[in-house]
Point group: C2
Chain length 351, copies 2
């Protein structure tokens, strides 16, 4: 263990600078304006995997953004670990909430990070974590300590639903064969509590557009007599939860596994302070599905959230318009046994 600490100390500045270079590239997969940056990031990841000691590194085409695959096979009889990570990031907006530009990384000490931490979009989702595994590999190949075969699969569409990942996995069974998968994209309960994540919620994402009259109308001349797409959209969205915050889409909970009392008691032992949670978010109360705790609501229970909504006049001042259309982006977070395609169908037929 002291060897690895020495290696880290000796290479610390290089490690940080390399990570900062990676964080500077705005690999926003959601926005086509950043296509070239996403592709450039894949190239940089390829280069880093080669330098970390992989024997073979490939940028693999997919129907979407490419997946960077790397491997070092030292002995086919030894176990193989597959490391998963992603090189794309979320859009940086709302920009006004950043203290420093999202793609100009800065190192700052804060109350939560007394030793300093890098602040940039992607620093902890997921370039930082992915990079940690690349550097662990570098240490082990450089010092001859690698005890197993290693494969890397780093994708570029995690933030937009990982559609090509499923395609890639289906089409490359042999290449990806492994004994253990190590995921570089989870969290820890606390800085000093080692945590094993045994499951994560999935996703079903839809965009709803409500169109009404063929043009924006004057709310004085037409208001009250013509359906207003925003009024209709809000009614539609509001109807998706009942008064206990249960989701009302018929069939939505059909496959949801109910945890036993014992399992829920075990979960409740994880360190968690509701007061700290509320304080960190500046909220006076938590909110969610009746009958479940905060930690249950954000882990074992499926959800339905509106991620964005827009329609009508959003500028300064007043405009008495009855708009022609309104839209919303809707995500369902799904738990074990819920299939995104099925949930999409249920949601669509309910709306």
């Amino acid at each position: 263990m002291s060897d690895i600490k020495k290696y880290i100390e000796a290479n610390k500045d290089r490690f940080i600078n390399e990570l900062i270079e990676l964080l500077k590239i705005p690999s926003v997969s959601a926005d086509p304006a950043y296509t070239q940056d996403v592709l450039n990031t894949a190239e940089v990841v390829k280069d880093r995997l080669e330098k970390a000691g992989c024997d073979l590194v490939e940028i693999c085409d997919t129907p979407g953004y490419p997946i960077v695959y790397g491997e070092k096979i030292i002995d086919k009889k030894l176990p193989t670990i597959l490391v998963y990570g992603h090189y794309d990031v979320q859009p940086a907006d709302p920009l006004e909430l950043w203290d420093s530009p999202a793609f100009e990384p800065v190192i700052k000490k804060t109350e939560l990070h007394p030793e300093g931490a890098i602040f940039a979009r992607g620093a902890c989702d997921d370039k930082g974590q992915m990079y940690m595994h690349v550097k662990a590999m570098e240490y082990m190949t450089t010092t001859g300590n690698l005890p197993c075969n290693v494969k890397f699969m780093i994708e570029g569409e995690e933030e937009v639903g990982s559609e090509s990942l499923g395609w890639f996995v289906k089409n490359h069974h042999e290449k990806l064969a492994n004994d253990i998968i190590l995921i570089s994209d989870t969290g820890m309960i606390a800085n000093d509590i080692p945590s094993i994540t045994t499951g994560l919620r999935g996703l079903s994402y839809v965009e709803v557009e409500v169109t009404g009259p063929n043009r924006d109308l004057h709310s004085g001349l037409y208001g009250g007599a013509v359906a207003n797409p925003i009024n209709i959209l809000t009614k539609m969205i509001a109807s998706l939860h009942d008064e206990n915050n249960h989701i009302t889409v018929p069939g939505f909970y059909e496959k949801v596994e109910e945890l036993s009392r014992a399992e829920r008691d075990e979960m409740a032992k994880a360190p968690f302070s509701l007061e700290n949670y509320k304080e960190a978010l500046d909220i006076s109360a938590v909110y969610g599905e009746e009958g479940y705790t905060t930690n249950e609501r954000n882990s074992i229970r499926p959800t339905l959230d509106i991620n964005g909504i827009w329609g009508g006049y959003q500028g300064k001042g007043t405009k008495t318009v009855l708009p022609s259309e309104a839209s919303a982006k809707v995500t369902c977070r799904l738990v074990a046994n819920q299939k995104p395609g099925k949930i999409y169908t249920l949601l669509k037929s309910h709306i």
Copy 2:
């Protein structure tokens, strides 16, 4: 009457060109970016009133945009007509729905306008109508036909609630004294049906902002456990109408006058084709308060419409964000006896 027709023929091109010049100025009162344009428009209106024959024209300061006042007093014993109009316009967006730029007027023949009409923001609300009265005045002063005293009061805040107009009227009782008020800002039932407007709905406008956590959150890590401002806002808005599309704000209908059966029968005689109405708007059905016809819903009944809504991610693609805030602009259209201040208070305490 043939004199006026001759005068119009002789001056038609000048009339149209002058109106087009006026329409080119983007006097958008809602958006502070256009402040100078709104002020410039007041100057042009002043100039036109002087040229139309007013003896006295003033740009009168108010707490907001100025009001252009003009008068021609030919004999104090004769009746005085006060002409009201406004020189401000609505914002031009959504820009993509314009066939030609909003502030570059074009003359086009269409099915509805076989003789051609000017298309520009403000052409029929309200620069066109106001201008018609200015030119009628010009004709009468130029030809010595003016049979009465005339006053003009042209404001610049009609599209943002006319707040300074109330102030101005209160502070200039004597200046505005008149026998008849002629309003340049109403419509006609049809091009060949002379119409007298005896009442118009008023307005109460509020902006609602719902704030939740102090930053945008990851909907996978927090979704379901923290109140989502968009979900809350949509629930709030949806709750403002019941299943019959009656407004649920307690006390909202308290002062609303109910018309007698005879009055409603009289109203129903006005020419109106529901089929044409739906066709013109490209809608398959009308929608509104149970128990009232379309023409009643948009005239004698108060309404509550959402004019704009926004929150969270509105760009292309997906972003699984649980947003920190969401906002909406809400208008109530009010009928006789409903006071905007009172309705604002009721709405605020209900929300």
